[in-house]
């Protein structure tokens, strides 16, 4: 496909033809793609379909095995991310890549810090940063704060801010909204609209298909490394999109009907760990899914960590299985022994052993039953169990001896889920379990969560995806500024009510602090 030399403004901004890339297996096979000016071109596909690989190739992070790219009519074969940026192509990566001790401002402008003879001009830096932070909704945050102190949602926004910080012709957003809640997503869409108007071409990768339909002009679908379709978004109903992605019909999404609740499995009362957790009390019963909603940074993760014993709580009691005596969970070990499981929101740093085989990741939390006398691991059993779980979750890997690092994001998440399923706990806390997981995988995890509840387990589901909470939860607790602001039963809630509750703490806080600041 040799594009005729076109007028600079009329032809596509970027064309890709016959792109191949293999790691140990083929990641991209003969992919062709094009992007126009002022267009949002969405890229969807299952986990491991090759979306991020394509994005990385366009952005110069990875080099293709073969294939040709043209940028604005010129041949384009960037050898580094820097070179791509020089040509006006920027990528906001799927996996967070922030450097803890750097400040927010430094992170945004990293690689092109304003300086005079090497000396950083901090005033200019912080001022420019403030403007950009305002745009993504982090206006109130001090740009001199180290990014290491931010929660994962805020980190994601900082990455987006870095992507927006410089004029570019092409902006690639790889799952920018995976850790964001609705208000931030709205703000991001405003920014995308603005860039569109300026003529920037945007490649938008996401597993949230409604989102994709809403903002994109065209949608391309990847399956197993091949492009299967590219169509205007208007001509692509949701059902078609899913069918093309998965290559088959997905069953009905899980519909949960209200059921008689069992006895209390876990009751938390007056949990405090300032500043993030001020007063958290709730109860979750056997056979129930308790959703946790809240804005980014509302303290959900911190509260769960404190319950699980990962952080020391300042105050608060925890009662298990209806017992009247509180238990003290001082460490994750004690929590796990008492039947709690905690799937962390940050799989790379807190969930996985990246360089170890997938098998070892899956069995890590429950090696005792796999070992005989003196702790010798029964290796055949271990392999069999790991394979069983991988199959149950449809974890896609060439071999379970592959290091976890080589899996696509979604499959990594499945490995972490498998770990906790293997441990077989009674009370499961899932923090953003579907972050970065494709629609098929999501459905599987939903079914799984429902199945766990069905079996009488108590499930806590923390999620930034309200749709998911609404579909799955029996009750929803809404956190705001470190407190449980409200709890709704199924049927009593509405999106508006939940949002109002999520905002309530912040309004009070702002009024309270108004005089002081």
């Amino acid at each position: 496909m040799t594009a005729p030399p076109a007028m600079p403004d009329s032809g596509p901004l970027l064309t890709i033809a016959g792109l191949w890339k293999s790691y140990a297996a083929v990641a991209l096979a003969d992919v062709s793609f094009d992007l126009r000016r002022g267009e949002v071109h969405a890229l969807v596909g299952e986990n491991g379909a090759g979306k991020s690989t394509l994005a990385r190739i366009i952005a110069g992070v990875t080099r293709p095995d073969s294939g040709a790219m043209r940028l604005g009519g010129e041949p384009y074969a960037p050898r580094s991310k820097r070179e791509a940026e020089g040509r006006g192509v920027r990528l906001v990566m799927q996996e967070l890549n922030l450097i803890g001790p750097l400040t927010i401002a430094e992170s945004i402008f990293f690689g092109r810090l304003p300086h005079r003879g090497g000396w950083i001009d901090y005033r200019r830096l912080d001022d420019s940063a403030r403007g950009i932070l305002e745009r993504v909704g982090l206006g109130g945050v001090d740009p001199a704060r180290p990014v290491g102190t931010l929660g994962i949602g805020q980190k994601q926004l900082v990455e987006i801010a870095a992507g927006l910080s410089r004029r570019c012709d092409i902006l690639i957003l790889d799952e920018p909204t995976a850790a964001l809640t609705d208000p931030e997503i709205e703000r991001l869409f405003q920014q995308i609209a603005r860039l569109k108007a300026e003529g920037t071409g945007i490649v938008y990768i996401s597993h949230r298909l409604e989102e994709v339909r809403r903002i994109s002009d065209r949608v391309s679908i990847l399956r197993d490394g091949r492009g299967v379709a590219t169509r205007p978004a208007g001509e692509m109903p949701l059902g078609d999109m899913v069918r093309l992605m998965v290559g088959r019909e997905l069953g009905e999404a899980v519909r949960r009907s209200p059921r008689p609740a069992g006895p209390a499995a876990l009751r938390v009362s007056g949990l405090r760990r300032p500043p993030a957790v001020c007063d958290v009390s709730f109860e979750v019963r056997e056979g129930e899914i308790l959703g946790f909603a809240g804005l980014m940074g509302s303290g959900r993760t911190e509260a769960m960590r404190a319950i699980f014993g990962a952080d020391r709580a300042e105050a608060g009691e925890i009662y298990l299985h209806g017992s009247a005596a509180p238990v003290r969970l001082r460490s994750p070990r004690q929590a796990v022994r008492r039947g709690l499981a905690f799937l962390t929101e940050n799989r790379k740093e807190e969930g996985l052993l990246l360089t170890l085989p997938i098998r070892a990741n899956i069995t890590l939390a429950n090696l005792q039953p796999l070992s005989r006398l003196g702790g010798w691991i029964r290796r055949r059993r271990e392999r069999a169990e790991a394979e069983r779980l991988a199959r149950a979750l449809d974890l896609r890997a060439r071999s379970l001896e592959q290091p976890a690092a080589e899996l696509s994001g979604g499959n990594q998440q499945k490995a972490v889920v498998a770990k906790w399923l293997f441990r077989d706990c009674d009370i499961l806390i899932f923090d953003e379990p579907t972050r970065g997981i494709d629609i098929g995988g999501k459905f599987e995890i939903y079914r799984l969560l429902a199945g766990l509840a069905e079996k009488g387990k108590a499930v806590i589901l923390v999620s930034s995806d309200l749709k998911e909470l609404l579909a799955l939860s029996d009750r929803i607790a809404v956190m705001s500024a470190g407190r449980v602001a409200a709890t709704f039963n199924r049927g009593e809630w509405s999106e508006e009510k939940i949002l109002a509750a999520a905002l309530s703490g912040h309004l009070e806080k702002r009024q309270g602090a108004g005089g002081g600041s």
């Binding site: 140990a24 699980f308 990962a310 460490s331 994750p332 070990r333 929590a335 796990v336 022994r337 499981a341 905690f342 962390t344 740093e349 807190e350 969930g351 996985l352 052993l353 990246l354 360089t355 170890l356 085989p357 070892a360 890590l364 939390a365 090696l367 005792q368 070992s371 003196g374 702790g375 010798w376 691991i377 290796r379 060439r398 071999s399 001896e401 592959q402 290091p403 770990k419 441990r423």
Partner: protein, 327 residues
Amino acid sequence: MSEPQPKIDHGLRLPWLGFAADYLGMAAALAALIAVFSLGTEHFFSATTFRTIANQIPSAILIATAMTYVLIIREIDLSVGSVLGWCSAVLGVAVARWQWPVPLALLAAAGAGFLCGLFNGLVTIRWRLPSFIVTLGMLEMARGAAHALTSSQTQYLGSAVEDIAGASIFGLSLPFLLAMAVVIAAQLVLSRTVFGRYMVAIGTNEEAVRLSGIDPRPVKLAVFTLTGFLVAAAAIIDTSRFQSANPNAGTGFELQAVAAAVIGGTSLMGGRGSVVSTFFGVLIIAVLNSGLAAVGARDETKRLVTGAVIVAAVIADHYRHRLARGE
């Protein structure tokens, strides 16, 4: 298994099939060294030489094995040399000055090593300090204690402890056979047991291990105290071999042990290592020392060659890994 499977050695399993391939590089390096020295000298290539080397290295093997474990959990123990001196001092003084019965003295030496390991482990874990610095402190303290106890005097023990290092079958000493047994056991524990799996996991991502409901601290403490024990065993072996206990014994052993482990492909970043490879590393260093001494090389030549071999070995390991990954 007909499908092509990627070959990944994370020290998790002892891949009996891939065994040869894994250790082939190191064995080749060793063979090359032996060949060079055999051509360069008259008597190097002889059973005596190899027996001599075998009987010299048991303490180095034990210490390097311990260091491999410590490195796998992403820590380091710089105090092994000093603790060896301290354990020797305890043994020597107990036998020669206090006239304790030998078994009791051996127990005391083992206890001395145990306490040092325990201290290293407890302080490192309790305050989450870098073991580099904690064991650096112990390096000074144990050496100071050794000197204080012996008044800096070498203790002559004579035949009291001679039997321990006495020759056994085929001229191979009991300590050598013991060291070999330790290597094999340590490799099996590393690759086949829950404890070994935890070690590798902790070295890879300690926080993830903790959040999986496993307390990493007992494992780490066990590794540090085990190190203390193995160092004490090394001290007993050396003391018995020299029939004397020198408070300066073991100076510089820490870096040698790290070098042996790293030449064997153990990662300083934790999570990767193999005791058997470390054993090859010890062998390479021992053959190098012995060969250079047989040649009668000048001291500066010895240092230059040793340094160059260390660097060359890790570069070679880099290429071996690339080859193994099929790049």
